[in-house]
Structure formats: C-alpha cells, structure tokens
Point group: C2
Chain length 343, copies 2
C-alpha cells in the first residue's frame, strides 16, 4: 500500500507575469507526498490553465491515481511504468508529480541521487536562462540589472510592442538572449521578427507560430536565420516525428509530458531525428525544477528558472552558480523543505 | 582508474547453425571485466562478422575504450554516456560489452538489480521464442520436439527450400511461429511467401528484403497480411524514423546498437512512431542474454535464446519458465559464473 498526502502551494511572483495570454501575480500548484515502506517521495504539479487544469483537478487526479495504484496492487518500485499506467486523462501535471515522487522514493530507497540512477554526470549541466517578463522599458531595464548573474536571458515576446523589450534589454546588457514568441506571430510577422532578432544576439526562438501551424513552420524554418524550438507544438514523444523538418529543437516540460520517464523518451526521440533539446518549466518551486534539472546533463539548453521568479519557494534543491545548474547530491531528487519561507 | 580484463569465450553450438550467410559450429565471443572501487562489472561482446568484427577487433576496441576512459578521467558511474563517449567506430559489440559492464557495476554498487535501477516490473516479461535452425526436414522435426517447452518458435528462412522447414515444423507442432527471412527474398518472392505463411500460424516476419530496400518494404507492408519487423535494416535509434511506414516493428540487438542505453533510446523512438519492439540476440552466453532480458518488461516480443543454443554456457542468469523470461534478482545484471561448465 502506498499512502498519499497533498497540499496546495501558492507561489507568489516577484514581478507580475505578463504573458501573451494574460497577467499573473501568483500560481496555485500542488505538492504531492507518496509514502511507501517508511520513506516519503515528493512531487509537484503545476497545472496548466491553457489545457483546462487547475489545483483542484490536479488534486483529484493524484487521488484517483493512488487509488488505482493500490487497487491494482502496482508496486511503486516500478516507477518506469507506474505513473503512466494509472494516469488521469488530461492531467499530465498530476502524472508528472506522481512520477517524480516515485523516482524520489526509489532514490531514497537506494541511497542515490536521481542523476546517479540515470547514470548521468551531475557536473555536465548547461547554463540556464532567466526570464525577463514583458513590461514597460524602464521595468525591463531594472529586471535585466537584477539578472546579471545569469549567463543567458529569455525574453517573452508576442505582442505588438515586441521589439521595445529587446531594445530595452540590449540598452543595458549584451548577455545572449533567447526569445519565446508564445505562438504570438503570423508567418509574415515571424519572418520579419526573425531577421531583426538575428542581428540582436538572439540564439534561438521558441514557438513563433500557433501550435498547429506545422506546414507554415516548415516554410519559416527554411528561411529562418535562427534555430526554432517547439513548445506549445510538442507535449509528448509521439508528437515529435511530425515536427522533424519544422523545428530545430523541442522544449520539454515535465508538466506537459507527464514526468521524467516521458521526458527521457522525448530526448531519445528528438535525438533520433537530429533535433536539439531544451528542458523548460512552468512557474514551479524548487521541487519540480530540481526534478527537471536532473535531466540537464542530457540536454543542450536549460530554461529552469520558474523557482527563481517566486518570492516564497518552500523547497531547496538545484541552484544556479555561474549561470550553470548545480544539482543537489542528496538521495532521490535531493530536495529539502526550507525551515522558514525565504521572503 | 578503472581496470580492464578480457577473455576469449568460445561458445559451442548444440546444432550446426545454418544461416542464409553460411554455417557455424561455434562462436568466438569476448568476456569483459571492468573493476572499479573493488567491484567487478561483467560484459560480453558477440562480434558480428557481417560488419567486419571479430574477437580480436573487439578485444582491441575494449582496450582502447578503457584507455580513453582513464585518460579523460571519465567516472564509470556515468554509465549513461561513458561507453558511447569512448566507443571505437565500427565496434558496437565492444561498446555493448562496456555499457553492460558499467551498468552491472552500478547495480552492484547500489545493491539493486538492473531492472530495479530502470524501475521495471521483473515479472512483466513476454514469452521468448526458440530458434529452429535451417536443416533437413527430419532434423527440423527432432529439433521441434526438443523445443516443446517454448511457447513460440522462430524459424530461419531465406533459401529456396524455405517452405519445407515450415511444413516440417507444422507436421509436429502447432506452436505459434515467427519467421526470420534474413534479407533472403525479393519483393515478388516476399509477397508470395507472406500470403502462404499467414495460413501457417505465423505471427510476424523479420527482414524479408535486403536491408537497404526501404521503398520496396513500403510496398510490401501495404499488402502484407503479417506484421513485418526490421532487423538488418535497423542498428541504432537514428535509423528508425525512416523505417516508419515500412515496418511494423524493430528488432533491437545490443551487439548492433552498442548497449542498453541505446536500446532504451530505440524503444522510445520506436514507440513514438507507433512501432512495436522486439529484442533479439546473436549467439551469446547467459551474460549478454541476461543484460538484454532486463529490457524485457518494456517490449512486445523477446527472441533471447542465443544461450540456449550453446552447450558450454559459462554463465547463469535469466532463465525461461513456461516460455517466459525469468530475470535473476541479484544486483546489477545478476549474472553468475557457473562453477563447472554445463556440457
């Protein structure tokens, strides 16, 4: 028998988050604890409103999952298949929380960090980018100054005032930039933006067109001076074959794909197609960010800053030093609850 | 520092092996021992003559690999990337031996069987087939009688006398059959053979056409009454995307792909394309067979009988009970040397 506990977790944002799809001051995530054989595995769900998920539906999903696991007498040691075998349709963030909690349990049982179970070199991590949210030029400049310790910045674009944000960043920093267009452009706009961005020291652009526009993406990629990464166009490994030729790489998010197992399958599938791999995140505490960070030795680009955008992260795990991700060496995910919230 | 020892291993066959590409009474494999931190990891290379490999070239390859590993100070704990990062071009069986030895070490260090490191259910294994080599009808009948404990038989075809072997099997057994054509047919022959085989209780056919004939395979698959699996057409994960639509599944062999890491990537890539997965083998002792068997909970079809075709298997590991693979529960690969050779 495996025992479930879950708690709502409100993550308050340092800056109001201005996205193409709306503003936000806080996110409502879910912490999941799975207890088995005297050990507790931790997981986190960051439900994605765009796909009809919220804290309550994620909580119901993990309850259903643990019921199914116990009814079917599935051994939680079988973490490669357990979470997906009891998954609730349309709730991949709950599946991700479950999957990471089972892997946390496995690592704690074996006394080894997750990266060691995966046979990965914890020092072979890429730099991670830090997101500068859309805002007025003065605020952007202030945010960029705060972010000087990061080796790469990520800028959300997508609205009409797009270029002003980039210009504001460039007025105070020559850090390499990544741009996330969040499906905000038409094919014509994208062509013009990409040519302009190529001159601004941008290293890649995410999701220039709406998710379903794969044929237009092929046209765009054929003329793009910059590598183009899929985000909203890709959820799981089975989405990848049709993206070959349309994107140069994919952005994997645990909350979209359902956990570390599917993320590993996505990395393998992308590599088989000669595509590059980024691992990204939602607004997440250090719990889910650290789970994703254990995959960092396998990837080209990390965009794991969701925890750094919050003022009340209840967990400690992966950190950023010299721009690079540093993995914790404790067993499992290696994540600890902070004794008092850091505000 | 990691220390290497290797020994030649001659595996003598119970029956002369008549393949489309020539006969064989024995195979010359290589046992690899990697010692690190007081523990010894075991691996086996079964060099493939078709690709210009032999026991001597595999031995030189593992020597080069361990030199590179030590020169570059690569930690053997990083088994996900270590073997491939020091691999010798054209020697995937040596890479496979190295990869499995590093995973054996990791399991022994953590005190857990490989299936547990992978989070797999060791009881969720498929039945494995037993190969009936090409021979005269009387000998085939005798071999089939010997093989009654297997749930599925595999018959090698490819020569002109093809159908006589199937008829000889069917004269004494109604066990399900798999057929391996070993690239032996033309498109026209394949069409006729497949229609005939579909009436004989055959569940799938491997590699009907020569490896490079992918376009002809698409035509064949469109009219085939049976699922068609790639063997010689597929080596590594990057070969899989172009096979989608041409084959229903792939046959993964550790000696072709370079080990368990690449095999896992192949399984992920095949699944992303909606393809089925078989894991097969060369003539191998229970050492390499057991390494492959740890992947069995992830696959649809197992063809892991190389050890059962030998009379002097020096190792004990995975067994077959009621036609199904049974994984050993010891740490790492769970393979032991037999105290005396079983002849």
């Amino acid at each position: 028998m495996i025992e479930l506990r879950h708690q709502p977790m409100e993550l308050r944002l340092r800056h109001t988050f201005r996205l193409a799809r709306g503003d936000s001051d806080a996110r409502q995530n879910l912490v999941v604890e799975l207890e088995h054989e005297g050990l507790v595995g931790l997981g986190e769900a960051a439900p994605i409103a765009r796909y009809g998920q919220d804290q309550a539906s994620a909580a119901r999903a993990v309850e259903t999952m643990v019921e199914r696991l116990n009814e079917r007498a599935i051994n939680p040691r079988h973490f490669a298949t357990a979470a997906q075998s009891v998954a609730v349709e349309g709730q991949p963030s709950a599946t991700a929380a479950f999957d990471m909690a089972l892997r946390d349990l496995a690592g704690k049982r074996l006394g080894a960090p997750l990266y060691e179970l995966l046979g990965l070199d914890p020092t072979a991590t890429p730099v991670t980018s830090f997101t500068i949210g859309m805002d007025d030029p003065e605020t952007v400049v202030a945010k960029v100054r705060e972010a000087s310790r990061f080796a790469v910045l990520k800028v959300k674009m997508g609205s009409a005032g797009d270029r002003k944000v980039i210009e504001a960043v460039r007025s105070v920093s020559d850090q390499p930039l990544r741009v996330d267009a969040n499906e905000g452009w038409t094919l014509g706009e994208a062509g013009a933006h990409l040519a302009w961005l190529a001159d601004k020291g941008v290293e890649l652009v995410e999701q220039p067109l709406p998710a379903g526009r794969i044929e237009e993406m092929r046209q765009l990629r054929a003329m793009s001076p910059l590598p183009l990464f899929a985000d909203e166009s890709v959820g799981v490994a089975a989405d990848i074959p049709k993206l070959a030729g349309a994107f140069d790489g994919i952005n994997i998010k645990l909350m979209k794909c359902g956990g570390i197992g599917e993320a590993l399958r996505m990395i393998a599938t992308a590599r088989a197609h000669g595509m590059q791999v980024m691992v990204g995140c939602m607004i997440e505490s250090s719990l889910a960010i650290t789970a994703a960070a254990h995959l960092a030795p396998l990837i080209d680009y990390a965009d794991l800053d969701g925890n750094l955008l919050c003022v009340n992260d209840p967990f400690a795990g992966a950190t950023v030093e010299g721009g690079r991700l540093v993995l914790p060496s404790g067993p499992g995910l290696g994540v600890q609850r902070r004794s008092t919230e850091d505000e």
